[in-house]
């Protein structure tokens, strides 16, 4: 039998999408699989020469689905550059907007993307293995899921005036206060959001119980884990120190984000534009770590909101109190974080200071020329680092996005799943769907700044050893 190379390639040369290459051997098994990201990091170069205070408006345009994370990380870097710590009310409002972002992004991912795979099955007919099929299977749940995302988007709108690319956070604070009316409007949606999320959590628990065999063989590997933490190592999504733990949950580092370059380095492979961050002291790839929901819930010791903490305690028992490492549990962790975000939104809305009018610090003290803004985006830790001239003009920009931190893990997940499920010579659609499901678990954001028709998110080509395409699969 001739060896085969299965290549997933973008149809166009325009950056922003990914390919998966699966290399088969003569025996019809997978030798290795790679997840190639063709992401061109143009924003970093594009921003050189701009003023740092423009960045909260520029960087959200990296993506039209998760712009708020960039908006806030950018503003936080600007706070430091300007030497203007935001007033308490501004911090509460920024965090509230961020909770809206978490709710909408996580809600959309579970119910509308991962949900069909889990609820309808990896091998279900592709015609129904989607959110439309889910509607048919459980219309009430699907409508609730759409409402959950809308609720998260509405928080962003109520706080920032726009759902996408808000003009809200500025260095030193924010540019609008919150009215009682808007606060009460958001409060009114919290109970239903919690209910919907709890339904989702029960779904994933039931699914996990019924599919433990798949969970234990689907992209299962150990890494370190990283995320922001409170001073007592609780879950923290807006601010705090960065905690890195090893595969056993033992703390390796707990550091100020300003020092991340002392802790994290980036490895380059010649088959991907996206670099591979790793923990310097352990080298690459041993120092690879995961971020995002599963990574975060392994990096923390507890959650400070009651409902999420109760779920966290159950979740951490999955692996006997040790870090949960099975890739499919990303979906479970994602919903626990959604619950936390809704509870945290309630805490923020109940804080009378959130209606304050002191929202912008105009007194500059100890400005800097280098600063890092950090935040936990839905997908994981996001760093924005800016170097400026004395006049505030950017000389250099470095962005480590969440998907970047997970780059090694996504490639490892694709390799693992391909080896487990892809059997030649006739590669079934369900096998390849599992490869994509491995990517979906990490919910990557792959340079969403262009979306012209004709750009495919992922395509799959099967090549034989002579370079001939024997099978083609694409997702439009």
């Amino acid at each position: 039998m001739v060896s085969e190379k299965i290549t997933i390639e973008p149809v166009t040369r325009i950056e922003g999408h990914a390919k998966v290459t699966i290399h088969m051997n003569d025996a019809g098994s997978v030798d290795h699989a790679y997840f190639h990201v063709n992401e061109f990091r143009g924003f970093e170069k594009f921003c050189e020469g701009r003023m740092f205070f423009e960045m909260p408006q520029i960087t959200p345009r990296i993506c039209g689905i998760c712009p708020v994370s960039h908006h806030l990380a950018s503003a936080k870097a600007g706070d430091i550059l300007m030497g203007a710590k935001p007033p308490h009310t501004a911090t509460l409002l920024r965090e509230l907007m961020h909770m809206g972002q978490i709710i909408q992004s996580h809600g959309m991912h579970f119910f509308e993307l991962a949900g069909p795979d889990l609820i309808l099955g990896f091998d279900a007919d592709p015609a129904i293995r989607n959110v439309v099929g889910l509607i048919g299977a459980d219309p009430a749940l699907t409508i609730r899921a759409v409402e959950l995302r809308k609720f998260g988007q509405d928080i962003i709108y109520q706080v920032g005036g726009r759902r996408i690319h808000p003009n809200f956070a500025v260095p030193g604070g924010v540019n609008r206060a919150l009215t009682e009316e808007k606060r009460d409007h958001m409060r009114a949606g919290l109970d239903q959001a919690i209910e919907t999320t709890q339904i989702g959590i029960q779904l994933i628990k039931d699914w996990a119980s019924a599919n433990i065999e798949d969970i234990e063989k689907f992209a299962v590997f150990h890494t370190g884990y990283m995320g922001l933490v409170t001073p007592k190592n609780g879950l923290e999504l807006y601010d705090g120190n960065v905690r890195l733990v090893d595969r056993d949950g033992k703390q390796l580092e707990c550091f100020d984000a300003q020092d991340y370059l002392d802790i994290i380095a980036e490895h380059v492979e010649n088959w991907s534009y996206l670099k591979f961050p790793y923990y310097k002291k352990m080298g690459y790839p041993e120092g690879s770590y995961r971020v995002g929901p599963l990574g975060r819930l392994n990096a923390v010791d507890h959650i400070d909101t009651p409902l999420a903490q109760a779920e966290f305690e159950l979740y951490r028992q999955l692996d006997g109190g040790q870090p949960v490492f099975q890739t499919l549990y990303y979906h479970y962790a994602r919903l626990i974080e959604t619950l936390f975000a809704i509870e945290r939104a309630r805490e923020l809305l109940d804080d009378p200071d959130i209606l304050g009018n002191d929202i912008l610090n105009t007194h500059h003290k100890d400005p800097k020329q280098v600063a890092v803004g950090v935040i936990e985006a839905p997908r994981g830790t996001l760093f924005h680092q800016y170097w400026t001239k004395p006049n505030g003009q950017l000389e250099k920009v470095n962005l480590i996005v969440s998907t970047g931190h997970n780059n090694w893990a996504m490639s490892e997940a694709v390799d693992s799943v391909a080896k487990t499920y892809v059997k030649g010579p006739d590669v079934q659609e369900g096998m390849l769907n599992r490869v994509e499901a491995a990517i979906r678990a990490y919910d990557p954001c792959l340079s969403c700044s262009t979306h012209a028709i004709g750009q495919m998110p992922i395509t799959i080509d099967v090549f034989d050893a002579q370079g001939e395409v024997t099978q083609h699969l694409q997702r439009d």
Partner: protein
């Protein structure tokens, strides 16, 4: 909003020809008497009852609910060389097109979601214009700008002929 027609420009106005949807929506709005801000926002409200307009970077699921309130809709976007015509004019039917990523949803998919949940979706067309350059700037390339003018003329007729 009172119009029965919705025009939705899609794309990133900071990525040159990827923002052709914004440029077209902007000019159509101005022809309908609305001055729009230079920085594209989410919704451009038009004061006539001919058409409502919006501009978004990417399609998202709750757009289905917005669409359910209209009789006609038009998506305006850029396309790459994989589409043969320089200006493509397509009638869209609801059809779910799956993606491995949450950040990628097509007009047909959002129509499919809407048709299932709301039992009504507008008669929908997709107008796309060939993009030649996708660099980091707001001005269209000369080739795409010329095509955009032709697309605007044809869309103007479509808006006015119910």
């Amino acid at each position: 909003m009172q119009a029965d027609t919705l025009i939705i420009g899609i794309g990133n106005a900071d990525r040159q020809d990827d923002g052709v949807g914004w440029h077209i929506v902007k000019i159509l709005a101005e022809k309908l008497g609305k001055t729009v801000p230079e920085d594209p926002g989410e919704i451009v409200e038009v004061e006539t009852n001919l058409a409502d307009m919006m501009f978004i970077q990417q399609i998202y699921p709750e757009l289905a609910e917005t669409l359910s309130h209209y009789r006609r809709a038009c998506f305006v976007d850029a396309h790459t060389a994989d589409v043969a015509e320089e200006i493509s004019w397509l009638t869209l039917n609801p059809e779910y097109e799956k993606s491995p990523l949450t950040h990628h949803m097509s007009p047909r998919t959002v129509l499919s979601i809407g048709a299932t949940i709301y039992d009504h979706m507008p008669e929908t067309i997709l107008v796309s214009v060939r993009g030649y350059h996708f660099q980091f700037e707001r001005a269209l390339s000369p080739q795409t700008e010329t095509l955009a003018e032709k697309a605007i003329n044809r869309l103007w007729d479509w808006i006015n002929h119910k």
